[in-house]
Symmetry: none
Subunit: 338 residues, 2 copies
């Protein structure tokens, strides 16, 4: 668990895109974003107050989050100066970089001397159990995709935000590094050892109030041969009551797999439901989330209308048109009897 | 390389299934199994001579192999006493447990003092790639089960032996600790990090002669919620041309999961084929392997006959009746055109 709130370190990010992790934190958990720390030449700006370390500390920030990709996979000397100073100032550090904070001897030494924590969110920090399949109280929704990177994280973050806005009990459950940095908690599922994958998802989504929803971030795809095992563990460990199907209609082949066509949404629905009902016989699909970023607005609306008729399910692009339809469907399908 | 022959440590195994590692070694390399070591309350028996450490040493045993699974992964104090005494007696230790011998400071210290080796066969020793899904030359068969521990390893070991006896090109590919202990090679799949599971299976079953078969040991089950992700990675990483369905007809619930019924063989066939054809559209089911150990011979034969009629596939118990039917079916289905 990463201590919040954060000071967001943008370093010398060349542009806004390089700071997309920090942007995600600011967009989805603005209460976690006390300020931003930018170095000379930084080309990103989140519109937060620029703060020195001492100022951010005084404002309550507890962790310096590296919210930017580093160039060439090296933590530079310039970054190091700031990171060391942050530890000395009393900040923990959190990072989703490939090269780990814990592999930097100087950072480890200073953190130890200052009694601060180094969080590498790519690496599991918990000894997860083996899944036991026991039915848990509370409700769970999982996003599954026809492919990787079709908007599963965005969909679940947007649904969770809308549900809380409506006064529903909801918790976004992060299963990847960006989601973990945004919320300060979660399971880095693609780095978990095979036998413990499903157990880590059970651990992430424990017993809860009967009317509470865990909104679980999906990973991979049942149809992506590189990562389908990770998706499988989410479906069986999460024992979802509800699935949202996620799709990007303009993609010509599976991400990183030329020669592999995307499945139809019908194929995804049937395969995911068949597998999900092993763990939860009452699981149902409640709607479809479409990433329409490569379509103009008219084409997007036409596509969604046709899709709703074809599949008999509500369909929306939560980024473009909001997640309301999906939350409406969830609330209607799982309405508590009066 | 693990020194042979072995003394097989059964510990306090609650039942015969828990000792399947030792059973596999005894079945496939009986010349390596000098005797068995059982503790008070042990519910397993391989029919080997029970031996004290000194007796086994005198009989030539060089390595104490931990031939029993421990769910959840704890090496108990009672086990430790025996393992330490074995090192002092001059045995090496070999283990496929999740928790490593090398992580136990007392075992490491005693092994060092006595000049003995600790072999953890479960630990991956290769940096596996991420799966790329590229079609490989040669043919592959994979065993899939309605449950865990229904005879997938036995089936593939028996088929491989029979195929080689007939002069076919075949290699048994171990994906678990028992197979690795038996063959000295393989991928400890359940200990591989999630992102690299399918890639490790691709690595294990590389390009080969067009008429060569990799006979891949299965793991888990698509219907076992604790381990289904591992099975999924085998189906997509192995891109099998042929599947064998494995089943144990008398089991009342999924292993370790009270309340979870076993799927039908039809459900397994449909689910496994649907997923396998993502990676290999030509994949087909060639037969059924039934573990009939809890049925008398007449009942077993009747069951197999009825199953063949019901499924339209050859069915056998390779332990009781030999794997010939399955190899016949494989040879007939994949006959090279004259």
């Amino acid at each position: 668990m990463i201590q919040t709130p954060y000071l967001l370190f943008l370093g010398d990010a060349p542009d806004q895109l390089a700071a997309k992790v920090a942007q995600g934190i600011k967009d989805w958990r603005p209460e976690n974003a006390v300020g931003q720390y930018r170095m000379a030449g930084c080309g990103a700006d989140l519109g937060l107050k620029d703060m020195e370390l001492a100022e951010a500390k005084a404002a309550g920030a507890k962790t310096l989050v590296i919210g930017v990709a580093n160039r060439g996979g090296v933590i530079s000397k310039e970054w190091k100066k700031v990171l060391v100073a942050a530890l000395e100032e009393g900040f923990d550090l959190a990072s989703g970089l490939h090269n780990l904070l814990r592999d930097e001897p100087d950072l480890v030494a200073v953190a130890e001397a200052c009694g601060r924590a180094l969080h590498d969110v790519r690496v599991p920090e918990v000894d997860y159990p083996i899944a036991n399949g026991v039915k848990r109280r509370g409700k769970r929704l999982l996003a599954v995709g026809t492919d990787c990177s079709v908007g599963k994280m965005y969909t679940t973050l947007a649904m969770d935000a809308e549900m809380r806005r409506r006064g529903m009990k909801s918790t976004f459950r992060a299963t990847g590094q960006t989601g973990i940095l945004i919320t300060g908690d979660g399971v880095p599922l693609d780095a978990v050892v095979a036998d413990f994958m499903a157990g880590s998802v059970e651990w992430l989504t424990p017993d809860n109030d009967d009317d509470h929803w865990d909104i679980i971030e999906g990973q991979g795809s049942l149809f992506h041969v590189s990562y389908s095992g990770v998706t499988m563990a989410l479906i069986h460990g999460g024992q979802p009551d509800a699935l949202v199907l996620c799709h990007e209609p303009t993609r010509e082949h599976m991400r990183g797999l030329p020669g592999y066509k995307l499945p139809t949404l019908e194929a995804l629905r049937d395969m995911a439901l068949g597998l999900a009902r092993v763990a939860n016989p009452d699981c149902r699909v409640i709607g479809i989330s479409v990433n329409t970023q490569h379509m103009d607005e008219d084409a997007a609306k036409r596509y969604l209308t046709e899709l709703e008729a074809r599949m008999g399910l509500p369909a929306t692009d939560p980024f473009r048109f909001g997640p309301g339809k999906l939350v409406d469907a969830l609330a209607a399908e799982f309405l508590e009897p009066a």
